[in-house]
Symmetry: C2
Subunit: 413 residues, 2 copies
Amino acid sequence: MADRLIGACVFAQSGGPTAVINASAYGVIKAALAAPEITNVYGAAHGITGILKDVLYDMGQEDAFELELLLNTPSSELGSCRYKIADPNKDDKDYQRILEIFRKYNIRYFFYNGGNDSMDTCNKVSQFLTKSGYECRVIGIPKTIDNDLVGTDHCPGYGSAAKYIATSVAEVCKDTCVYDVGTITVVEIMGRHAGWLAGASALAAISCAPPDLVYLPEVDFDIEQFICDVSRIYGHKNNCLIGVSEGIHYSDGTFVSEAKVSNTDGFGHVQLGGLAATLAGLIKLHTGSKVRGIELSLLQRCGAHLASQTDIDEACLAGKYAVENAVAGESGKMVAFERDPASRSYVCRLLLQPLSIVANAEKKVPRDWINAEGNNVTSEFFDYALPLIQGENKRILDNGLPRFARLKKIPAQ
Amino acid sequence: MADRLIGACVFAQSGGPTAVINASAYGVIKAALAAPEITNVYGAAHGITGILKDVLYDMGQEDAFELELLLNTPSSELGSCRYKIADPNKDDKDYQRILEIFRKYNIRYFFYNGGNDSMDTCNKVSQFLTKSGYECRVIGIPKTIDNDLVGTDHCPGYGSAAKYIATSVAEVCKDTCVYDVGTITVVEIMGRHAGWLAGASALAAISCAPPDLVYLPEVDFDIEQFICDVSRIYGHKNNCLIGVSEGIHYSDGTFVSEAKVSNTDGFGHVQLGGLAATLAGLIKLHTGSKVRGIELSLLQRCGAHLASQTDIDEACLAGKYAVENAVAGESGKMVAFERDPASRSYVCRLLLQPLSIVANAEKKVPRDWINAEGNNVTSEFFDYALPLIQGENKRILDNGLPRFARLKKIPAQ
């Protein structure tokens, strides 16, 4: 049993927002406010930059009702950042500043909620504080719609984005088959390096016909094969629905979204308007059919109205677990999920993983969860993803629209 | 009281799909199956073209449970068309064919569910049948997310699309203010000639900050003023969210989406990737800020998971009302809604309008529901639109995803 450590805590959100990152915030804040060891609960504005700039809010002064609304409020309520902290061996200015702020507020607990880069930040801060002899317990809380963190079965944020994508693709699938003239539709889905989100488009099969083709960045993209696949399906059924990851790339690593694409006269110009528009234009050129590109854009990461309750519950629990374990003496770890492989139904337990194994690594979709042709996912993917999108959230409405949390954000004294 | 008319009915869906057009189908089918005067209930595949091609389905053979699922199934379950029927005075081939099919199945009731063009078709068919001395009662049922039909307070389909747009814009609003670097976001919304849908983006104000600027096609678009508006707001608050109708046009009538836009060197090329991308590119050029274009695309018209229960109920009721009135002797009319101006709460009654006044006309947002600057809507717009987005739908789920109707579509004998 670790020594009892009395002091304030600070919580910060980092990286791209998700539909449930605020549920983790709620989990942290509620548990921290209840912990006798924690004297003050601060939230940093815009991630680590709020600590560097000394912009902290006193969470203890918020209304309980508003805090609870965080469970269904999308995006990062405290603000986020994409600040890359320096290597402390080369430049420790930021770390010295963090130490200064932590000393100023007697911060003894630091909870950082984010993805790969944020876990790297978390790890560096943790190591620096240890080296400096300043006692502070640091726990990372995973968050990313991309679901690409290692050391955990999945990440809070993924299940809700997957549910949004699967539901939207199912609805689009219904919409694109109403006319008796054929249509080819390309839906562009987030995920720069891992295809977890693009794969979720296949789950639309539960509602209606699944996308005919799904392309993930785990498999090199072959534009000739793509046109061949689309033409074959369109020729056969007079319709084709395609889910595609923004991160698909050629075998030389060039992103398709950034590459020149071949057109009738050889190689054309870089297209504007995103990957979906580029691919749609290309298909139109080759098939002459009616085409449409749809980019799910920010909608897929902020669609809290479709957040999975499983995801909300787990995100909240991850925050609570971080606080409880920090109080119990843990530090330098990230909260992770482990699925029980023996259970027929979905059972997940929480555990801690060393930050060092999580930082800067990426977890991809296993190659054998993608079919041999590399243009769809297999049943293993369904078994993995379906439990994560279960449960309808119980959001509160005001005049037919979501009632989001309204925090007072009173500056820390 | 009209004579009792015994015979079959046919129902068809036309024009762009909506989240609730199938709710009207359910209203028609259920009421028609229950009407003693109606011997058979047929659904035509792909609107009027299904009648022309003799592809009718026997709705009497569908399972009651699956039919009820139509209440929450987006898109046109029987298929749609965009077929423009000829002027019968010039070419009556299609009309003769319709008469032939109606005689074949003894069809005495025709229900057509669509927008302006469809009401025109409906009107022409009704007049031709009357002139031919073939007794058949024809009723139009309104449907369009665009909400631009005259003779009715609003159209089924609008409320659900408006709720989708307002909710999505509220969520995007939360997402685009998380970083402390500013962002300008342009959300492109459907509505070629009327701004009812673009105006709905302003309703996001109920949840959080509303869009800073909203542009409707009712006001001529001035690109210089637009850049001036955006720059001013961005300079002031370091952020700007813009809702814009796809139908905005310059004073000469040219759609902005199709026009060349000015850039640094005078006039540049037509941009690819839609209006949102075009405007985002233009803003980037003038402000240098981070910009993002989001096109709500098909999602806004097929987003049944966010359909307003008010809209679903009214769409279903419109179908039922059409059948009941046809059986009672009405013909050549469209079902319409009339709001009680004296009631403080939202009260709407159904009535019938002559098809002739509805066909091919367009109802626009009143100019005085748009502010003087032409860059946002007023409180009158809120009073009008808010009642239409009320009520959360009670959709059925399967494995966390929508359970859509699965019809057998058994061909009519």
